[in-house]
Symmetry: C2
Amino acid sequence: MSQENVTPDLARERSKATFDVENLAEFMIGGRDRLKRKRFLQNIAIQDPFFKKQKSWSFCSVEEQYDMGLSKSIYIQKKLQEMGITDMQEAFYYRECAAAHENSPLGLHYAMFLPTINKQATPEQKKKWLPLAENYKMIGTYAQTELGHGTFIRGLETTATYDPKTKEFILDSPTLTSKKYWPGCLGKTSNHCVVMAQLYTQGKSHGPHMFMVQIRSMEDHSVLPGIEVGVIGNKFGYGTNDNGFLSFDKLRIPRENMLMRYSQVGRIPRENMLMRYSQVSRIPRENMLMRYSQVHEDGTYVKPQNAKLAYGSMVLIRSSIVSDAARGLAQACVISIRYSAVRRQTEAYPGGEEPQILDYQTQQYRLFPLLASAYSLQLAGKYVFNTYLEVNDQIEKGNLESMPELHALSAGLKAFSTYEASAGIEVCRICCGGHGYSQASGLPKIYVDVVPGCTYEGENTVMMLQTARYLMKCYSRAKQGQKLPGFVQYIGQNLNKKSCMSEEVALGCLVMAYEHRAARLVEAAAMRMQSLIQGGKKQHEAWNGSSVQLFWAAKAHCHLFCVKNFVDAIQAKSLSSKTVTVMKSVCQLYGVHGILENLGEFMQDGFFSGEQVGYLQRKMLALFENIRPNAVALVDAFDYPDMVLGSCLGRYDGQVYQALYDYAKSAPMNQTEIHSTYYKHLKPLINPETTSDAMQFAKL
Amino acid sequence: MSQENVTPDLARERSKATFDVENLAEFMIGGRDRLKRKRFLQNIAIQDPFFKKQKSWSFCSVEEQYDMGLSKSIYIQKKLQEMGITDMQEAFYYRECAAAHENSPLGLHYAMFLPTINKQATPEQKKKWLPLAENYKMIGTYAQTELGHGTFIRGLETTATYDPKTKEFILDSPTLTSKKYWPGCLGKTSNHCVVMAQLYTQGKSHGPHMFMVQIRSMEDHSVLPGIEVGVIGNKFGYGTNDNGFLSFDKLRIPRENMLMRYSQVGRIPRENMLMRYSQVSRIPRENMLMRYSQVHEDGTYVKPQNAKLAYGSMVLIRSSIVSDAARGLAQACVISIRYSAVRRQTEAYPGGEEPQILDYQTQQYRLFPLLASAYSLQLAGKYVFNTYLEVNDQIEKGNLESMPELHALSAGLKAFSTYEASAGIEVCRICCGGHGYSQASGLPKIYVDVVPGCTYEGENTVMMLQTARYLMKCYSRAKQGQKLPGFVQYIGQNLNKKSCMSEEVALGCLVMAYEHRAARLVEAAAMRMQSLIQGGKKQHEAWNGSSVQLFWAAKAHCHLFCVKNFVDAIQAKSLSSKTVTVMKSVCQLYGVHGILENLGEFMQDGFFSGEQVGYLQRKMLALFENIRPNAVALVDAFDYPDMVLGSCLGRYDGQVYQALYDYAKSAPMNQTEIHSTYYKHLKPLINPETTSDAMQFAKL
């Protein structure tokens, strides 16, 4: 990034760094070549006059955002084609820069509609639909969630009833709550839609299946008879996406429109079906959970074959949500830490210079642990993704052993990371003081982009409890003397230990502490379950009555993973010794801060003594001082260009005040000296001889 | 509220309640008459066709929001006049309903500009300006914060240099960072402004003083020469307010425009100056911190007299922020808890009915402690306000003794409550699942209205450290054997105690636990300070090096207050025994949950045993079961009509799905079957013979 015009404060920060930023940046992205390629692609977007001429999204109405989103989306796809980019990761780098935090109105066409045809349709269906979809005659999306039904797919109410007389399915939305509601790209963009509906044939229900439904004319985009479709209205963010509703009034579609190659059945959580654009574009579609089912012409339902359960796609989607969340938090840290090095506030002693606010211990206390989290979560997302690739190879060879553990971990990590990142982004924003509240800071947008990750693709509590279910299984196996696989071996360990923590705060003692805490909370949850069942509760009542403790156990499990994975990651050979020294401090801070924030869970059984807690508290403050000189370099190493950050406060050159002022000047309301509202409301107030609407009304 | 059309689930919830909602609602608002009057006034707003015909704010662009905000604001003022309402609390009830969470573009005219003239101007100035301002010839605001300067008022850069030759002040913005930035109502609405600037006369600086500056013509609203003014651009929320920037190019104003009756001096924190509309409208202006200063015609500066420091206005503003935050959290609880009683999700066991999500223990774990917080914070705001009134009486009689304690408490409580409420509102939103992310839920708007409270009127960390400074003084007095006043008597107490906690979880043992924790953390912070000073650090370095622990101490102090005040409040005679039973559970939950969330701080010194922690954990789960049947009744008792909530999910009648659907149907994008974007971007994509802008560009 250009060194020109960098403020002295930021220049000094960078010169103080004790490690080579490039070394860390290469490590985080996965090598020097990839970093180079990423910069090359992002520079193309940065230089492109098409993006330069766009109005700031924050000055656009929701309709303008949608319009701009569609225009950019089409342009980006075109450019990727021109550049011959087919690698999903490369496309992501370009798009991340070209349309940062802007959800595409064509996203689900690429990420869900095309792949669904590819993978779920019969050869005949593919032959018919693929050319149309690839050439944008059909523009499609995927509709599952209903007004009254989300995570629980068996609760869906939309019906598809087979009529053997006409060889048609009758699609119907029998209730208000059965309307499809929330699917992206549905309200105004798509003319086709893959619809998940309850299949009925020969008087029997066969659970949710997928159907191809045309909803608008391919000629003039008008809505077809029997269909009601529109947007669901405005949201906290996602202005570029026309999330929609859709309902059917006994709409007849040919039998051939049921996706019959493979189809989804009832007991599978929806996480493997509904996928967001930014995520799925990077995910091989081969990994979808598939079974076989058909409806013959006479209405006979052919059950799906027993197919091996492949958790792959879920693991991948969740690992991508972990990475999305980590990226959002990292960007927020870049903005807040750079700004805190530029911003000076309140003389420390009478007549003294106003210090950089990053020198305040309280500011370090709020920001540095989040910086550590951002690194930890990025490394966690990376681990899950890479491990998936390995495990996938094993699955190809018929070895499913490692998948359940990874699957359970990824569910919990999805929840853990989105909670941590969302809350952390807001702390970063608040750490920017008043200016953080301006859209010019870029932070509100990052927040509203990341926070829905807590509820989509499986509500976070449900995710945590999925992890907990696996942990309970492991616990019972451990109690039966079975050996547990890999990372969960800590479960069932001896809990009568004391911490080895000394003043140095060794990484090994940190990991041991997290293992002990997780093991204890897993056991506590299992004991609670057991005692409720012994007290006469039914299984599901006992589960619900233990679910808070199950949640705690799952959270501790994920937290342990993040600590352990961080410790392992910084052993990498590609890191220089100087980088390792700095990253060790960051890693220690992650571990120490996490213990202090959840101290009771580490102390309840006397694992830590009060004295040891004192070590941790002093160490945390000492780590702030270690990290302080490298703070700006540590956020530089995330390597987000200004275009990705979209922030006046987080600029690489630190020229924040000029940028804020320029932003203000460009506001539409500043393009006229006197706003039209003056003539409507203020003038009649100042000169009451003329009278405004409001005043007239008041006189009625 | 109307019982018509209430969903069976909500009707059943209400019939299950074990206490009289009216009894609790009367208590919370301060009596039966006030509740009646509030409902009367809010019903006027609810029935008024003027408000009914308004478009939903969420479908308005920022410019439309500003327009609507101004129109509503003028209408509301007119109505209040017609109704002869002068009581600030009554006006607030009406406005809360008529313009819920909508910051008025005339707010600072009423709340800051008029009162400043009234209180800070000389009799001659008042005679000149008051009639003009009262008749809206002058529409004004107050400008203090600058682009580069916030909390630290002595750092302000705008100058007012007296020129004795022309008897004028020269107002100047010498730097980019000196531009006024953020003042409300400034960008487009006001034609006058009270400006805080550094006074220079006879070559000497005399610190910040106030000046009356005309910025726009009263005839045609054009911007006057020497002035640059505009909006600062878009924000996370506050769309109705034209927060602005303002700078001066050597602008000359007459000497008589310095507000000379009383004027503010340098060392006073800005919290007593910058006031938000919703708050200050309820605050008697007599309480402003005032001193005397003047500039004579020849340029002689007359120092302010020593006036008694009256912290009153700060206490009041902060108590109103506590109440604002509590109100936001309470409203979020109403929405999320009602919706959780309507929403059904995931059969608990195969074939079972989908339970109300409020029956899930994890949902109770997230929502019930927030409900308890909402009650606790409302009671805290009420206490500070009422105590202020008492203390103010004492001050009138010359007794300043109680003020410093209340002042320190209110600073910390402002920070404590805004942090708690902001984070809590987001949890409530996330507890509504996907629908919480829709603006139809009302929750995003509540959040963006409450969360800036963390940074305005004194940044929260600075506030907490103000409280800590007072606590350190108390600690040192206690160590010198002096008796401490009222509520801070716990400081310096014997720390070698153990908790009296038993399985019953007596309220007294809860209070004792919070006292012990706060006392210990105050001592720990003091010891840290002492050891740093003994190690050779300067006072300000030691302060900064202890500030994390000082923050912890202040937080513990505020938390203790909230617990103790809650325990005291539910002893009120007006509460029926049935209400007390329920409120005791809520109060216990507040105390128990707070301990478990901060457990390390209660355990580090062995105050609690592991066994006692087990009591608390089991009690928390048991309290969830106690509170569950009364949850809906407990939020009903906040008595917010649907118009205040502005939420499809939080409706009193529980008809959430119909409301969501109606909201969607009313979206502007649904008013046409085919969106204009289709013709611009989609049609050329589907039929590439025609070519869109974006595609053309791509071909360049």
